[in-house]
């Protein structure tokens, strides 16, 4: 009896194994998107699965960006990494350094025989995810950039007729706003280091670190303790004293200060769009980041934030074929136009941008084009192609700590930035040692 059962089970298993010719290959996709963006991901996977019968993309939500990345790393160490992993931009260096753990996208596309031209993608976006030779390592997925959100009603009330373009104009406007109904905050920002160090440097064509901000090698040395950054931090310190500028924390938890009407000028991600649209009860818009007019060549171009899709290593060739097909599917112009409009994230290809523009969509929704205009403002330079620094999460914490000390009046701008540079360099050396064998 038992024997018969065993025999039956074995037969069933071998029958199941004997039919791989038509078996669907499952491709695991781990991501960190919630709410409306999660719907976008599910729809993309469903559409892809319906479009062919060989592969099935299975999206799984794994928590916040750091959680997803940690889950992926833990899964890799345990030997069952997903095929595709969404990794936020600050994890780029860690992923890139993991030779063997990841499969470079350009290589996978070539091996799978998929049509792939890295020039079709917006260079302001792909620069972040490419080697110095321009080989794309991961596929950009959801990208955004820093923009300046504006409460138009508040500006009008304070008698400011034009949206400020330069930093001195922003300071001037913030003083007026502070005197006219916004005593606790003339202007502010989220992501303090992203806005005030990383984007500031790129936008003014100043290096954040040597070796093209780390894109050309991990032996990069920080160098953002120079004139421009010092001047900017000094301005913030001075304005913090009477709350013309008011610090809003390291991450984006302070963004509510804009939508509630407290801070009428607020610099943060263009991805804040959905929140503003549903929560702000005043007339709003956004504009390009301000710049210092005396800086030569400013404004340059901005860099991106957001995440890209990494392909994990050690999978079978036929699985990579499926992933490659899926990436071609994602890069399709119409699909990108749709994702751009529904999520507010940037389109990743030049064709999708051109198509959205031609359709006149930006006339009604100019705030969706602002980050694109910033990214494509000028041809990216060594200083504005992107950043690739190891231990970026920790680095940002260290830089934030120093900026916090400066804004609290405990350190001068020079002391704070010098300390941010030297502490950061120590962390970069540590990272370099862990990745060079």
């Amino acid at each position: 009896m038992v024997r018969g059962f065993m025999l039956g089970a074995v037969t069933a298993i071998s029958l199941a194994a004997a039919t791989p010719a038509h078996a669907v290959i499952e491709l695991q996709w781990w991501h960190a998107m919630t709410g409306g963006n999660n719907d976008v991901i599910v729809k993309l996977a469903n559409d892809f699965n319906a479009s062919q019968s060989e592969y099935k993309v299975v999206p799984t939500y794994k928590g916040s960006y750091p959680d997803t990345m940690n889950a992926g790393i833990a899964a890799f160490r345990a030997g069952n990494a997903p095929h595709i992993m969404q990794v936020f931009e600050v994890g780029t260096a860690t992923m890139m350094a993991a030779t063997g753990a990841v499969k470079p996208v350009f290589q996978m596309m070539k091996e799978a025989g998929e049509k792939f031209d890295s020039n079709a993608y917006l260079s302001g976006i792909t620069g972040y995810y490419s080697t110095a030779k321009g080989e794309m390592l991961s596929l950009p997925f959801n990208s955004s950039s820093t923009v300046m959100w504006i409460n138009k009603d508040a500006l009008k009330k304070a008698g400011i007729n034009e949206i400020p373009k330069t930093w001195p104009e922003v300071f001037e406007a913030a003083k007026k706003l502070k005197a006219n109904g916004h005593p606790t905050c003339g202007f502010s920002n989220a992501w303090v280091t992203w806005v005030n160090l990383e984007q500031l440097s790129a936008w003014h064509n100043q290096p954040l670190s040597t070796k093209a901000n780390g894109l050309d090698g991990f032996d990069t040395v920080l160098e953002f303790n120079h004139d421009l950054q010092l001047k900017h931090l000094q301005n913030l310190i001075d304005l913090q004293k009477d709350k013309t500028y008011d610090y809003s924390g390291r991450t984006n938890t302070g963004e509510g200060r804009f939508t509630s009407g407290e801070c009428p000028i607020f610099l943060t991600s263009s991805g804040f769009f959905g929140n503003v649209k549903s929560n702000a009860k005043f007339d709003w818009t956004n504009a390009a980041m301000p710049y210092y007019p005396e800086a030569k060549g400013a404004p340059q171009n901005s860099i991106i934030g957001g995440a890209s899709l990494w392909v994990m290593g050690g999978k079978k060739p036929e699985e990579y074929k499926g992933v490659a097909k899926f990436f071609t599917f994602l890069s399709d112009t119409d699909r990108q136009v749709e994702v751009h409009k529904s999520s507010g994230y940037l389109p990743i290809t030049k064709a999708a941008y051109a198509k959205t523009k031609e359709s006149g969509y930006y006339k009604e929704n100019p705030y969706l084009e602002t980050p694109l205009l910033e990214l494509t403002n000028k041809e990216p330079t060594e200083n504005s192609r992107g950043l690739r620094l190891g231990n970026m999460v920790q680095l940002r914490d260290v830089w934030s700590e120093e900026i916090e000390s400066a804004l609290a009046g405990k350190k001068s701008a020079k002391e704070a930035l010098d300390a941010a540079v030297s502490r950061g360099n120590a962390m970069l050396r540590q990272f370099e040692r862990t990745v060079t064998k």
Binding site: G256, S260, N391
Partner: protein, 294 residues
């Protein structure tokens, strides 16, 4: 007639201990030894390259002045939380112990905060004290003229996390204190009252000494709580900031290891933390326990 039960079997006691020993080995000694081993390695996040570096992680840690700052922060934080939560709970327990109408309701209400998850409690407190929108922060600014700003002011941030951590722990302490108080025979305090001792004197000379075993137990539990279980609160409220003002040892382990991927450095910190806690517990049992009357 022999009344004592005899167990002739030589190995029986060991057999009976085995389940407990296995659990201790698997869940304590094994991970602890792994942490010690890991602290001697330099490894990337993916585990692709591992190098034995001896005591280098420790050297790097101990030559970092901010690590000592973290130790001081932890002492200030844990001490404040333990003292505040013990004294508040004792005060509440003595009040709830009185024969009041509806004492049962007070007791239930006082126990509730313990059921709130740390992250939820953290978010609630962070909301109330958010400098620009928080209801308490607004009250402080508008009525008392205090420019409350835990985002930049380290002292404010410290006060905030101490308050939240204390609030979380009061319920637990309250439960034990109340049970301890109710175990004290009424006749003792009544006799003292007849002798003319006033309530305060009765409390300090009779009740408090009789509560000392409970207090001692709670002191250890509270310090362990402040050291380890406040991670979620701190993460949700301040993230260790501003400028490391609220970074405790265990938060730093989490930040460097989980968020930063520096496994070796994080493991070295865990080992040091383990040594500190072992030392602390030993000191408590060696010296503080002498003052305890069971």
């Amino acid at each position: 007639m022999e009344k004592r039960a005899l167990f002739g079997h030589k190995f029986l006691p060991y057999w009976l201990l085995v389940p407990q020993l296995i659990i201790t080995l698997v869940f304590f000694y094994w991970p602890a030894s792994q942490a010690v081993w890991q602290s001697f390695l330099l490894e990337d996040a993916f585990g692709l390259s591992t190098r034995f570096v001896g005591f280098e992680n420790y050297r790097a840690l101990l030559s970092d002045p901010s690590y000592f700052h973290t130790i001081v922060t932890t002492i200030v934080f844990s001490g404040s939380v333990a003292i505040l939560s013990l004294s508040c709970a004792l005060l509440l327990a003595t009040q709830a112990d009185k024969q009041l109408a509806g004492a049962g309701i007070y007791r239930t209400l006082l126990i509730w905060p313990y059921a709130v998850a740390p992250a939820v409690a953290g978010v609630l407190w962070a909301f109330m004290f958010q400098p620009s929108l928080g209801i308490v922060a607004r009250g402080l600014r508008d009525y008392l003229g205090i420019d409350w700003n835990p985002l930049l002011n380290g002292n404010h941030a410290m006060i905030l996390v101490v308050m939240a951590a204390t609030w979380k722990q009061i319920s637990y302490n309250f439960l034990f204190f109340l049970a301890g108080l109710q175990a004290i025979p009424r006749s003792v305090t009544e006799a003292a009252a007849i002798d003319g001792a006033r309530p305060m004197r009765r409390f300090w000379t009779i009740t408090f000494p009789l509560l000392s075993p409970t207090t001692f137990f709670l002191l250890i539990v509270n310090i362990v709580y402040a050291f380890f279980d406040t991670l979620g609160l701190i993460d949700a409220m301040t993230g260790g900031g501003p400028a490391k003002a609220t970074e405790t040892l265990v938060f730093r382990v989490y930040a460097d290891g989980k968020l930063g991927g520096d496994l070796g450095g994080s493991a070295a910190q865990s080992v040091i933390l383990m040594i500190i806690v072992i030392a602390l517990t030993a000191i408590q049992f060696r010296y503080v326990e002498k003052k305890v009357t069971y």
